[in-house]
């Protein structure tokens, strides 16, 4: 079970540790700076933090001593001639790194391998712990990439990277907005695999076009890697290797950003619903978590010790985390709320802090 949480916020990285049965903030790093995400690399215990500095661009920091000291890595960079063309009519512009939107470690057999998904849509690979990065041109150079567009941001981006735990050459990435892309050869060649998803926001004849699907977040079950869950702009979808299947029974709403799946039980997944895209607040001002234990046939609404009156907390796509045991989950909100459960969501505890807006949450260590 993990006793450490990395909480990335608009104003710093907060390290939470469990001691004597309670969770407390034990470290405050990059205070005042915008931390987009943080990740613990289970292969060597390194921590990575991606900073989105408003003036000075995106930076990547690495710590090998659990946050005591940090050193700067390289960041993904676009080359001369790389251009962002989008499918929503915006004029093409020169591609520059806007955001490191996802960061995942490679497999245990790939020391030093990191994957980074970015806005404006490039997937990058490092094989030296972030000292250098290569753009995966097999995806970037596809003509379909110019049909992607921004969802929330001006430009499209890769927010979810799933690496098959049984075969690290198999990758799936989620794009907002650009569907789901698959590579079975370590990122060399790619194909679209969002078939079955439905985009309510598009003209009817484009609703099932895989390349316009606004996936908000996609996760893969480690114990059953054929199973994926996706929280999409207008619904929830699951996949077992074929087409995506829409799950309509999510209560209290099918709209949201975050999803987590149990590491062994593929039928158990959690969502943090909000009202709808034009009203990104909890339904009726009540913070709840929706949990299914039967693959989406039914959902329980978990609310024990979560705020149930005048709560306007929105949970962003990376702000819900689950630990390797599947027992502990934690989520934070754009208004700085933070809650932890140690029994899969039956009961929640609130962190005694008023955090800055929470961008991302991840467990460190196992």
């Amino acid at each position: 079970m993990s006793d450490v949480l990395l909480v990335s916020t608009r104003k710093g990285l907060f390290v939470l540790e469990r001691g004597n049965g309670a969770w407390r903030i034990t470290r405050r790093e990059f205070l005042g700076d915008n931390v987009a995400l943080a990740m613990c690399d289970p292969r060597d215990g390194s921590w990575y933090a991606a900073l989105d500095l408003g003036h000075f661009g995106n930076k990547l920091q690495r710590s090998s001593d659990r946050g005591a000291t940090w050193s700067e890595c390289a960041v993904p960079a676009y080359g001369e001639g790389d251009e962002v063309g989008t499918g929503d009519g915006k004029p093409p512009v020169t591609a520059t790194l806007r955001l490191i939107w996802s960061l995942e470690p490679g497999s245990s057999g790939q020391p030093g391998r990191l994957w980074a998904g970015t806005i404006p849509g490039g997937l990058f690979r490092s094989d030296d712990h972030g000292a250098s990065w290569q753009l995966m041109r097999g995806l970037w150079d596809l003509p379909e990439r110019r049909g992607w567009f921004g969802g929330g941001y001006d430009q499209p981006g890769i927010h979810s990277i799933c690496i098959d735990p049984n075969d690290a050459r198999k990758l799936r990435v989620g794009v907002s907005t650009g569907g789901v892309w698959a590579s079975d050869d370590d990122g060399a060649t790619w194909s679209q695999c969002a078939k079955g998803m439905r985009a309510e926001y598009m003209p009817p004849d484009r609703a099932y076009d895989p390349n316009v699907q606004d996936v908000h977040r996609m996760v893969q079950c480690r114990g059953n890697p054929k199973r994926f869950w996706a929280q999409h702009h207008n619904g929830v979808f699951r996949n077992d290797g074929g087409d995506w299947r829409e799950i309509t029974s999510v209560s209290p709403s099918v709209f949201g950003f975050a999803v987590a799946v149990h590491p062994r039980d593929a039928d158990t997944a959690w969502f943090v619903p909000a009202t709808k895209d034009v009203r990104r607040i909890p339904v009726d001002g009540k913070v709840v978590v929706a949990r299914t234990r039967d693959g989406g046939e039914s959902f329980e609404v978990l609310r024990d010790n979560l705020p149930q009156r005048d709560a306007y907390d929105l949970t962003l796509r990376h702000a819900l985390a689950i630990d390797a045991t599947g027992e502990r989950l934690a989520f934070g909100s754009t208004t700085g709320g933070f809650w932890i459960t140690e029994d899969q969501g039956d009961h929640w505890r609130v962190l005694d802090a008023r955090l800055p807006p929470v961008h991302a949450v991840s467990f460190a260590g196992e």
Partner: protein, 98 residues
């Protein structure tokens, strides 16, 4: 000698050699030439600084301002502007973007 002045918001990202406090505003002397020449001398001393001042295409970052002897540079894509032997280049964050 010409001078490149880094604002404290920028200089705090310079590699620290065990210093407890950030260095505050930092002034570096450089030989003359162009704005680009002056910056290259600064980047030679502090390689990580390049990515803070310029994007990957060599353009001055959108929310960064370069003032040469009190006047903002006219084109963030073009750093060929000549500087005098006693010029002062201020590298500072714009008020936007924070």
């Amino acid at each position: 000698m010409a001078k490149v002045v880094l604002s404290s918001a920028l200089s705090r990202w310079l590699p620290q050699s065990g210093a407890a406090q950030p260095p505050g505003e930092v002034a570096l002397t450089v030989a003359g030439g162009s704005v680009a020449d002056a910056l290259e001398q600064v980047f030679a001393r502090y390689p990580n600084l390049r990515g803070y001042v310029l994007d990957e295409h060599g353009t001055v970052r959108h929310h960064l301002a370069l003032f040469v002897d009190g006047a903002a540079i006219g084109d963030k894509h073009d750093l060929s502007q000549a500087i005098g032997k006693d010029s002062e280049i201020y590298v500072m964050q714009a008020l936007s973007g924070g």
